[in-house]
């Protein structure tokens, strides 16, 4: 349109097209801004934590026991405690959750029982962790006579993660198209054969992701373990691989962070931050493991 020629070019952009392009640029800009905005807090938190924690971060901080009233030394007993709790709770919750989800998705008929179970799973997934903690205290510590112990705490964590594992596994199973199953049944395969050969291979990535995401949740929770088996302090030598028995209580990273911040006077400020960095690193490592695992077993369905 420049030059003011009388004959308009046939492909010159019309006013409507320009307006659409403007809107497109605007939308793109807004979405991009939101994405960047989402990264900012993460980078901010990480950066702040690492900077504040720097003076205390070292290998010996990882493998030593706390000393001098937690004002010196490291966090080994808490680190091992967290790993113990997470491993045992997952060893309980993952098999039960995955198998239950397979039943619900592959076998159960759509009747009222099924709907009630579904409702129960969803409700249970929404129960706040402090309520799980109280239930764990009543059920495992007192009624089942497990006492304050790693076992009680792990079972409470398992109970907390179970419904989410069921829900995420069901999602993964449901993403396998029904036509796959039908094809398999039509050549005479039983339901179990179908599940093993078709459904699981096509959904394993999603199932594993769901389970491993629960690791970060279990590692970070404080309330359920504080009520059932995590202690303020336990005398343990640093560097021992399996310092706890199952019927003992243990220290845990999340709890340790809480007590450092609320109970210990005149603690060096970098120590709580260093504890937070380690907790975060554990969670990030597990998530990274989840991503690697998923990439390795990923099925690439072409439908």
């Amino acid at each position: 349109m420049s030059g003011g020629t009388a004959s308009p070019q046939p492909f010159a952009p019309t006013a409507g097209l320009l307006a659409r392009r403007r809107r497109e640029r605007l939308a793109r800009g807004v979405f991009l801004a939101m994405t960047v905005l989402m990264i900012l807090p993460l980078a901010g938190i990480l950066g702040y934590l690492v900077v504040r924690a720097w003076p205390s971060l070292s290998w010996s901080f990882l493998v030593e026991a706390p000393a001098r009233g937690m004002r010196e030394g490291g966090i080994w007993p808490a680190l091992v405690g967290t790993i113990d709790l997470v491993v045992i709770s997952l060893a309980v919750a993952a098999p039960i959750g995955v198998l239950a989800a397979i039943y619900l998705n592959e076998y159960a008929r759509d009747n009222w029982v099924h709907r009630v179970v579904n409702l129960a799973v969803i409700t249970l997934a929404g129960v706040p962790s402090i309520v799980h903690a109280l239930f764990g205290l009543g059920a495992f510590v007192y009624a089942a006579r497990l006492g304050y112990s790693i076992l009680s705490a792990s079972l409470t964590l398992a109970l907390m993660t179970l419904p989410v594992i069921i829900a995420s596994t069901r999602e993964a199973l449901a993403s396998v198209p029904r036509s796959f199953r039908e094809a398999c049944w039509n050549v005479g395969a039983t339901r179990w054969q179908t599940i093993r050969a078709v459904v699981l291979p096509n959904s394993i990535g999603g199932i594993l992701t769901g389970i491993i995401l629960q690791v970060s949740r279990a590692a970070g929770e404080t309330a359920p373990i504080m009520f059932t088996g995590a202690v303020f302090y336990k005398a343990v030598r640093g560097g021992t691989l399996l310092p706890y028995r199952l019927d003992e209580q243990c220290m845990a990273l999340s709890m340790h962070l809480y007590t450092l911040a609320t109970q210990v006077p005149n603690v060096r400020p970098s120590i709580p931050y260093a504890t937070a960095v380690v907790l975060l690193a554990v969670v990030l490592l597990v998530n990274a493991a989840a991503i690697t695992l998923r990439l390795r077993v990923r099925t690439r369905p072409k439908w």
């Binding site: 706390p66 000393a67 001098r68 009233g69 937690m70 113990d84 491993v87 045992i88 060893a91 510590v141 007192y142 006492g147 304050y148 796959f180 094809a183 398999c184 050969a197 078709v198 699981l200 291979p201 096509n202 394993i204 995590a230 202690v231 303020f232 302090y233 336990k234 005398a235 343990v236 030598r237 021992t240 691989l241 399996l242 310092p243 706890y244 028995r245 199952l246 019927d247 003992e248 209580q249 007590t259 609320t262 109970q263 210990v264 006077p265 005149n266 077993v297 990923r298 099925t299 690439r300 369905p301 072409k302 439908w303």
Partner: protein, 312 residues
């Protein structure tokens, strides 16, 4: 079995290795149960938040003395520890207040045993204000007028104090109701009157000091061991108008001059035996008492020590 259109990536070996990994995890968890390298006995101490730090220091030192015994320390408040003791889920309850008659009654009714209590040290309850607060001393009546139901003191100007950072309204910092410190303050300073609503109730002794350190117009009570010099100030306390105000120190708390000192107790269900007995004896020995002092609490007085050895 390959389904056209999909690529089945999971090899049988994957399932085998997954199974093996699962088994290994189980075995690991299991052998954690049998062959813990440190093995031995565990002693569970639960209760007073005031005492977690000294209990932690005991646990740390006792582990050096007797590596076979591992002491677990958890907090929650004196009331929580006593409740757990009565349920038989811990070996020792730590309490910064005396056992209530109804708790002793419960113990008899549910377990058929008496609760035995052992004095293991003392704690002076300090009244903290912000380091910049010009106030130097305070009397029980004034504290009661601030903290108790029906009290009339709400502003610092009523005490003739101007806060340098501004803010005249008194920010009262208190403790949660399961705390032994809370009970003790109510009983001995407020004359058993209830706390007035509107205080900030903190969950730990350290949190009280932290909040006071960050709030120029605040006043709060917490153990002497939580003092953070330069950030907060401990007031001299007078047990009644006209009587001299005494600063909280080791000496004044031991001599009984300082008016809000209390005993720190370890409680057991029935007469302690074996490792529990040994631990309690060690705690009251010179080594254990040195730790009490290092943590900012007041050790047993020479009289109490003498009574202890005479009783044995």
């Amino acid at each position: 079995m390959r389904i056209p259109g999909t690529r089945t990536v999971i090899e049988p070996s994957f399932w085998r290795s997954a199974l093996a990994a699962g088994m290994a995890a189980m075995i690991c968890a299991g052998c954690g149960g049998q062959s813990a390298p440190e093995g031995g006995t565990t002693l569970q101490i639960k209760g007073s938040d005031t005492m977690v730090n000294v209990a932690q220091a005991w646990a740390e030192a006792y582990h050096q003395v007797r590596p076979g015994v591992r002491v677990e320390v958890s907090g929650g408040g004196s009331g929580v520890g006593i409740a757990a003791l009565l349920r038989g889920t811990v070996d020792i309850a730590a309490s910064s207040r005396d056992l209530k008659p109804e708790e002793a009654e419960q113990a008899r009714r549910y377990t058929g045993r008496e609760v035995r209590s052992f004095v293991v040290g003392h704690d002076a309850l300090a009244v903290y204000v912000h380091a910049s607060n010009p106030l130097e001393e305070i009397a029980f009546e004034q504290l009661a007028d601030m903290f108790a139901e029906g009290g009339r003191i709400e502003r610092w100007s009523q005490l003739g104090v101007t806060i340098p950072g501004g803010g005249d309204k008194i920010i009262r910092v208190s403790r949660q109701s399961s705390s032994g410190t809370y009970e003790f303050f109510r009983e001995h300073v407020l004359g058993r009157r209830d706390f007035r609503l509107g205080s900030r109730d903190m969950n730990g002794s350290k949190e009280v000091v932290e909040l006071v350190a960050a709030t120029p117009a605040a006043i709060g009570y917490s153990g002497m061991g939580y003092h953070e010099p330069g950030r907060v100030k401990m007031l001299r306390v007078s047990p009644g108008a006209g009587r001299p105000a005494v600063a909280p120190t080791m000496e004044t708390a031991m001599s009984g001059e300082y008016p809000i000192a209390r005993s720190l107790l370890l409680l057991t269900l029935g007469e302690p035996e074996g490792e529990i007995r040994a631990f309690l004896d060690w705690v009251r020995s010179p080594t254990g008492q040195t730790i009490v002092r290092e943590c900012g609490y007041v050790p047993l007085t020479p009289d109490e020590r003498a009574a202890l050895t005479a009783g044995r």
